[in-house]
Amino acid sequence: MTHSLHRRGSRESLEKDFVVLSCSAKGFNDNVFGQKGKEFLRICLRHHPVNFGDMKTGNFLSVDPEEVIARVSNTTILEVTYDSKQDVVELMRDLKEADLGVSVIISGLHDVVEDIVRQVGLKRIHTREYSLGTHGRLELLPEYEVLEFTTMCGHAMVASGLVKHMIAQCKLGRRSLRDAAVTMGKCCSCGNFNVNRAQDLLARNLGLWVADWPIY
């Protein structure tokens, strides 16, 4: 699916937002992917991910990283989120050297990903998927500031009501920005939710939003 594709935000914010994925190819390497996937995650873990998960197990905000790695199976999707281009460059150098033979995908700004490919010395991007945006009954969508959070989980596990609730909790001093970001991140079981970016977005929104919804 396209879990990591349709993230919304300013260029400045998206420059600190990368999702690196790997998954098995059915009928080609789904008999050996488990071992390769474990190695992929171990390499990813060395480069300061802000989130990290296996679609069948959950993310490392909720499950111990070693358990996430131990449970990687032959048919799954692994997703690791970073907030630094340099970390992704170093990661890709290690993955290139390891030559695991499994597919590796980066979601991020077109030109920034292209620059990473150049810096690492990979030939070129093989296949690209573009987002053509959202269409239809747009009046059903929450505010754009809320979409910046919720679209960091393509499965829509982070509710727009939760985003507003967390902003309210932070405004009232009931939660720290970090705690609020991690609470949202735990809902996105795959590991796509960039908790550091969410923390930055919360800080930006605290002064802009009025808590005019029920406080539980």
Binding site: L5, R7, I77, V113, Y130, L132, A156, G161
Partner: protein, 251 residues
């Protein structure tokens, strides 16, 4: 999802966690105190509330689901594996393994229409509206995709009758088309959009040519769309690498 009204203390802490606003507080008939009420028609069976662990009295529980309601969980809860593909999630491998599988080749584009995304949810009547329109264009719906799996007739785009009454957080309609046919697909999609009761996100993918160009870009622009500045990129690191004429190492 169900709530045990005897255990629920009506604190409402789970309400913000629901992606489809299916929760409210109220009094059940014959039940004196305030308790959580789940609107089962709205509930997408995504399981977020239960996994959050927010309930202080463990009052929520997931009942066993049967078809057709089970389709809500299959399409809404990412931790549930779709048995037909053996892979969790709502779609196929699409571009993620393209250098290995060779699914999308030069001269073709992959199209994904994700109904209900982001976070609005979709009825399967709306899903069928789109599958029928696309079927008329003769597109080949992707194998291993849950929407394709639940079609009664791929030539007409008709879904199984009991499935049409269901809903889910989202559902991806996936197919590959020739670049010649892509403008017609985008035109028809624009024409039927006002008839839909939900939103959808649209994605188009293609192989990058050896000279670095992407032939879908002018087609997308010609159709009046603007691509977002972020994209998903397969770096071509998988083996066996699929090569076709025009690529490095192939005459």
């Amino acid at each position: 999802m169900q709530v045990d009204a005897e255990k629920c203390v009506g604190c409402g802490q789970c309400i913000p966690f629901c992606p489809v606003d299916a929760r409210s507080l109220g009094r059940l008939p014959g039940h004196g105190r305030v308790t959580l009420i789940i609107d089962s028609d709205r509930c997408a069976e995504c399981g977020v509330c239960l996994r959050s662990g927010i309930c202080p009295t463990d009052a929520m529980y997931q009942e066993a689901l049967e078809m057709p309601r089970l389709i809500r969980a299959i399409l809404s809860d990412p931790l549930i594996e779709f048995k037909a593909t053996g892979v969790p999630g709502r779609g196929t491998e699409e571009i993620k393994t393209n250098e290995i599988t060779g699914r999308i080749r030069f001269g073709y584009a992959g199209v994904g229409i994700e109904m209900g995304r982001p976070g609005v949810s979709t009825s399967w009547e709306d899903v069928q509206e789109v599958t029928r329109a696309m079927a008329k264009l003769g597109v080949g719906f992707c194998e291993g995709n849950p929407v394709t799996h639940f079609m009664a007739d791929r030539n007409t785009g008709d879904l199984e009758p009991d499935v049409v009454k269901e809903k889910s957080l989202s559902a991806i309609i996936e197919f590959d088309v020739s670049l010649e046919k892509l403008p017609e697909v985008l035109r028809v999609l624009q024409e039927i959009t006002p008839q839909l009761e939900t939103v959808y996100t649209l994605e188009v993918s293609c192989k990058v040519h050896p000279d670095g160009t992407l032939p879908v870009l002018p087609i997308i622009e010609q159709a009046g769309y603007t691509v977002l500045p972020n994209s998903k990129n397969n770096l071509g690191m998988g083996r066996p690498r699929f090569r076709e004429p025009g690529e490095e190492g192939v005459a």
